[in-house]
C-alpha cells in the first residue's frame, strides 16, 4: 500500500473535542469516567443554526468532527467543495436517536402520522449526506456498517480511493451514538461499568457516544502515514505483525468475549496502549485509537503520559511505527499499521 497520510484529526469525544482537548485528556488532565453525554454546540462555529436545526444528533456529531479535522489540517472547508474529495462514514449502530424517534412516532401516534424527518434521518447514510451537503463534497460518499469490521474496511476504502485516484482527500468518520436502548441492552449483558477496563476478564463495556474524523490525503505533511490495513487476520497473525511495531494501540472496548484475543496481541507487543477508559466503549473505536496513535507518532502528545489500560509504563524514545488493532470476532483481527 503506497503512502496515504493522516492530514487532520477531528476527535469529538466525551473526554474532549478537538486535538488539543484530546491531548490534554491523554495527559491526564481529565480524571474519572467519561461523561454520558456529548455536546455538539461547537458546531455553531462552523454552520449557522438554521442549517443545523434539522440535522439529528448523529449528523451533528459527525459534522463537527469533519469540520474539526479540516481545520486541524490547516485547510478551509471551502476546499472540500469539489468532486476530488470523498467521505466514508463507518458506524455499527447508525443514528440511534432518529431510529428510535421514528419508532416513538409509530408507538405514541399512529401509522399515518409518522415523521418523515425522523425517517429520513434514521437512514444510516444520511449523516454522510449531511456532511456532503454542508461541505459541498461531490466525490464518492459511502457509509459502512458491519459492527467491529466497520472501521478497518472504512479506513482501507478511504485509502484505496486516494491511491486509485478517485479522490485527493477523503474524510473518514467513525462514530457511534449512545441511546437508552443500547444502555439497557449493555446492562442486561453484564456491561454498564462506570469505567472500561479494556483487557479485563469480565465485561466492563460502557457505551458512550463519540466520533473520530481523520482527513486523509497524500503528500509529505501530516501526522502519520497509513502503511497498511489488514483485515480478517487470525489473532496469531495479527500478534506477530503487531510485535514489529513500536507500540500497539488496542481498540478494546471492555467486552469479555474479545479480551482474550487482545491479551494475545498484547503479550507479544513491545508496548501496549488502550484508551477506552478515557472515552468509553464504541464499536468503531479503532478510529479513535488510530487518532491517538497519529498524535503520538507526530509527537503531539507524550506516549509516556498516556493513560494505559495495560502494558509496561516506560518512558521511550520517539516512536516511529504504531499498530492499531481491532478484534472483529473470535480469532479475527483488523490491523492498521501507521508510520511516523
Amino acid at each position: 500500500m503506497s503512502a496515504v497520510r493522516i492530514l487532520g484529526l477531528g476527535p469529538v469525544l466525551t473526554c474532549g473535542q478537538g486535538v488539543e482537548a484530546l491531548s490534554r485528556a491523554l495527559a491526564g488532565e481529565k480524571s474519572g469516567p467519561p461523561a454520558a453525554d456529548l455536546s455538539t454546540e461547537a458546531l455553531t462555529a462552523f454552520l449557522p443554526q438554521a442549517r443545523i436545526r434539522r440535522i439529528d444528533p448523529f449528523g451533528r456529531m459527525a459534522l463537527l468532527a469533519a469540520f474539526l479535522a479540516i481545520q486541524d489540517a490547516g485547510l478551509s472547508s471551502e476546499e472540500a467543495r469539489t468532486d476530488r474529495w470523498g467521505i466514508v462514514v463507518g458506524t455499527a449502530f447508525g443514528p440511534q436517536t432518529s431510529t428510535f424517534s421514528f419508532l416513538d412516532g409509530l408507538i405514541d401516534g399512529c401509522d399515518h402520522l409518522v415523521s418523515s424527518l425522523a425517517f429520513t434521518n434514521s437512514v444510516h447514510n444520511v449523516p454522510a449526506a449531511q456532511i456532503s451537503l454542508a461541505l459541498g463534497v461531490t466525490g464518492p460518499v459511502r457509509t459502512l456498517t458491519a459492527f467491529q469490521y466497520t472501521a478497518g474496511t472504512a479506513l482501507r476504502t478511504a485509502c484505496h480511493w486516494i491511491r486509485a485516484g478517485r479522490a485527493d482527500h477523503v474524510l473518514l468518520i467513525l462514530g457511534e451514538e449512545s441511546s437508552p436502548v443500547l444502555t439497557y441492552a449493555v446492562g442486561r449483558m453484564g456491561g454498564g461499568a462506570e469505567r472500561v477496563r479494556p483487557l479485563a476478564d469480565e465485561c466492563t463495556y460502557a457505551a458512550r457516544p463519540g466520533c473520530a474524523a481523520l482527513l486523509l490525503g497524500s503528500g509529505d505533511t501530516g501526522y502519520a502515514r497509513v502503511l497498511d490495513v489488514e483485515e480478517s487476520l487470525t489473532t496469531a497473525e495479527a500478534a506477530a505483525r503487531a510485535a514489529l511495531a513500536d507500540v500497539l494501540f488496542c481498540a478494546a472496548s471492555g467486552r469479555a468475549d474479545e479480551a482474550g484475543d487482545y491479551r494475545v496481541l498484547a503479550s507479544q507487543a513491545r508496548r501496549v496502549r488502550a484508551h477506552a477508559p478515557l472515552y468509553g466503549s464504541l464499536a468503531t473505536s479503532l478510529g479513535i485509537e488510530a487518532t491517538i496513535a497519529a498524535l503520538v507518532l507526530a509527537g503531539r502528545t507524550s506516549e509516556a503520559a498516556i493513560e494505559a489500560g495495560a502494558g509496561p509504563e516506560t518512558a521511550s524514545p520517539a516512536l516511529r511505527t504504531a499498530a492499531v488493532a481491532g478484534v472483529c470476532g473470535p480469532n479475527r483481527v483488523t490491523l492498521v499499521s501507521l508510520g511516523g
Binding site: L106, N125, T138, A185, R188
Partner: protein, 399 residues
C-alpha cells in the same frame, strides 16, 4: 484483460417474481407483475401502496449454513438462498470456502438497522424486554453473518448507502479483486420488507397506490420490494485457474455525490452523470447495449435520470426499468439489477418495462415496451440514493 480484472462467475437471486434467476427472469420476460398488499405485516400508512413480496413458502430454508434457520432474519434467509444458487453456478463448494481469502461485500438497509418494533414497544413501557431481538440484530448483519458462518478470511463489508447499497457493494467487491485483496468476493445486496420503510416512504408521499410505472407519463411513485441478489466476483486469473465459465467482466464502476438535497436528486443529474462517465472508463457511449435504470417511477427520479442518460448515451439508448417487476428492494435493488443486467447481456435480450405505456417528454428516453434484443457489448446499471449518492456499474460481454 489483465489477470487481476474482475469477472462474474456466479449469479443468484430471489424476488417477488420467483426463487432463482431462471424463475425471476422468466417472469420478467413474460411481463408478469406480482405485487399486492403487504402480507407479512399490517399497516395503515398515509398512502397505501402495493409491495413486491417474496411469497411465503416459495423458498426452502437454506442448508448452506448448518445452524437451524428458525431464528434467522428474513434478510439472512434470502441471502443464503441466493448465495446457494450463485455458488453452484460458480462451481464453488460451500464446504470448501472456510479459511480461504474470500471477501464478503453486501448492501442492505433493513438488515443493519435496529428496528424491532415489538421490543421497543415493551422497552418504552418499562417492561425490561428479553434481549432476543437485540441478539438477533447483532448476529445477523448480513456480511458479518456470512463471514462467520462460512469462516471466510477476506475483507468484510456491509454497505448502507440506501438505495445504491447493492450497486456500491458490487463496485467495491470489484475493486477488492482489482487490488488483489482477495481471490473471490461474495457480493450483492439483500433486504426484507418491513413496516418501518413502508410507513417511512409513505410519509414522504413518494409511493404509488398502484403498480409502479417507470418512465411513464402517468407515473406517480414507487412500490417497495424485497429480495436478494448475489454475484460471485473473482479475478480472471482465479476463474481461469479453476476452469469455470466467465460470465461477464466488470469493466467500470462510478460513484459520486450530488451535495444537493437529502431526499431529492440533483436537478441536472450532475452526480449521476459523473458516476456513469466514471463507469464508462473511456468507452464510446455509442457502443452501449442497454441501461438497467434506477427507474423508481417517482416523478423527479425518472425525469432526471432519463435526461441524464440521454445526455450521455443519446435519446435512443435502450433503457429498461426492472423495478417494475421487483419493486424498490432498497439495499438489494442495485444487486438485483446488477444480476439482471448480466443476464440481459448473456441472453442478448431484455424484458419490457412493465406498466410503461405513455412516453414522458420530461424523461427524454423511452424504456422498453416489449422484450427487446440487445447487442452483447456492455451494459450499465445505475442507482440513485437517498442522501444524494449516485452509482453506476458496467458489465462487459466476454468473447
Amino acid at each position: 484483460m489483465n489477470p487481476q480484472d474482475p469477472v462474474v462467475t456466479g449469479l443468484g437471486c430471489l424476488a417477488a417474481g420467483g426463487v432463482g434467476l431462471d424463475a425471476v427472469w422468466a417472469a420478467m420476460m413474460s411481463g408478469r407483475v406480482t405485487c399486492g398488499p403487504p402480507g407479512r405485516f399490517a399497516a395503515a400508512p398515509v398512502r397505501k401502496s402495493p409491495v413486491f413480496e417474496v411469497p411465503a413458502g416459495s423458498w426452502r430454508p437454506s442448508r448452506l449454513v448448518a445452524e437451524t434457520g428458525s431464528d434467522r432474519t428474513l434478510c439472512v434467509e434470502f441471502l443464503l438462498v441466493a448465495l446457494e444458487e450463485a455458488l453452484d453456478q460458480a462451481v464453488l463448494r460451500p464446504g470448501g470456502l472456510g479459511g480461504r481469502r474470500i471477501g464478503v461485500c453486501l448492501g442492505t438497509t433493513v438488515g443493519c438497522t435496529l428496528n424491532d418494533e415489538e421490543f421497543y414497544r415493551a422497552f418504552k413501557k418499562g417492561e425490561r424486554p428479553d434481549l432476543a431481538a437485540i441478539h438477533r440484530f447483532l448476529d445477523h448483519n448480513p456480511a458479518v453473518y456470512l463471514a462467520r458462518a462460512l469462516d471466510l478470511r477476506g475483507p468484510v463489508s456491509t454497505i448502507n448507502n440506501a438505495c445504491a447499497s447493492g450497486t456500491d457493494a458490487v463496485g467495491q467487491a470489484a475493486e477488492w479483486i482489482a487490488e488483489g485483496l482477495c481471490d473471490v468476493v461474495i457480493a450483492g445486496g439483500v433486504d426484507e420488507l418491513s413496516r418501518i420503510p413502508y410507513l417511512g416512504f409513505s410519509s414522504l408521499l413518494n409511493t404509488s397506490e398502484g403498480p409502479c410505472r417507470p418512465f411513464d407519463a402517468g407515473r406517480d411513485g414507487l412500490n417497495l420490494g424485497e429480495g436478494a441478489g448475489v454475484l460471485i466476483i473473482e479475478s480472471r486469473a482465479s476463474a481461469e485457474r479453476r476452469g469455470v465459465r466467465l460470465l461477464v467482466g466488470i469493466g467500470g464502476y462510478g460513484c459520486s455525490a450530488d451535495a444537493h438535497h437529502v431526499t431529492a436528486p440533483h436537478p441536472q443529474g450532475a452526480g449521476l452523470e459523473r458516476a456513469v462517465r466514471q463507469a464508462l472508463a473511456g468507452r464510446d457511449p455509442a457502443g452501449i447495449s442497454f441501461v438497467n435504470a434506477h427507474g423508481t417511477a417517482t416523478i423527479p427520479n425518472d425525469a432526471i435520470e432519463g435526461t441524464t442518460l440521454a445526455r450521455v448515451f443519446g435519446a435512443g439508448v435502450r433503457v429498461v426499468g426492472t423495478k417494475s417487476y421487483t419493486g424498490h428492494a432498497l439495499g438489494a435493488a442495485g444487486a438485483l439489477e446488477a444480476v439482471f443486467t448480466v443476464q440481459g447481456l448473456l441472453a442478448g435480450t431484455i424484458p419490457a418495462t412493465a406498466g410503461f405505456q405513455d412516453a414522458d417528454p420530461a424523461c427524454v428516453v423511452v424504456p422498453t415496451r416489449e422484450a427487446t434484443g440487445v447487442p452483447r457489448t456492455y451494459a450499465i446499471s445505475t442507482s440513485l440514493a437517498f442522501g444524494g449518492g449516485n452509482s453506476a456499474i458496467l458489465f462487459e460481454a466476454l468473447p
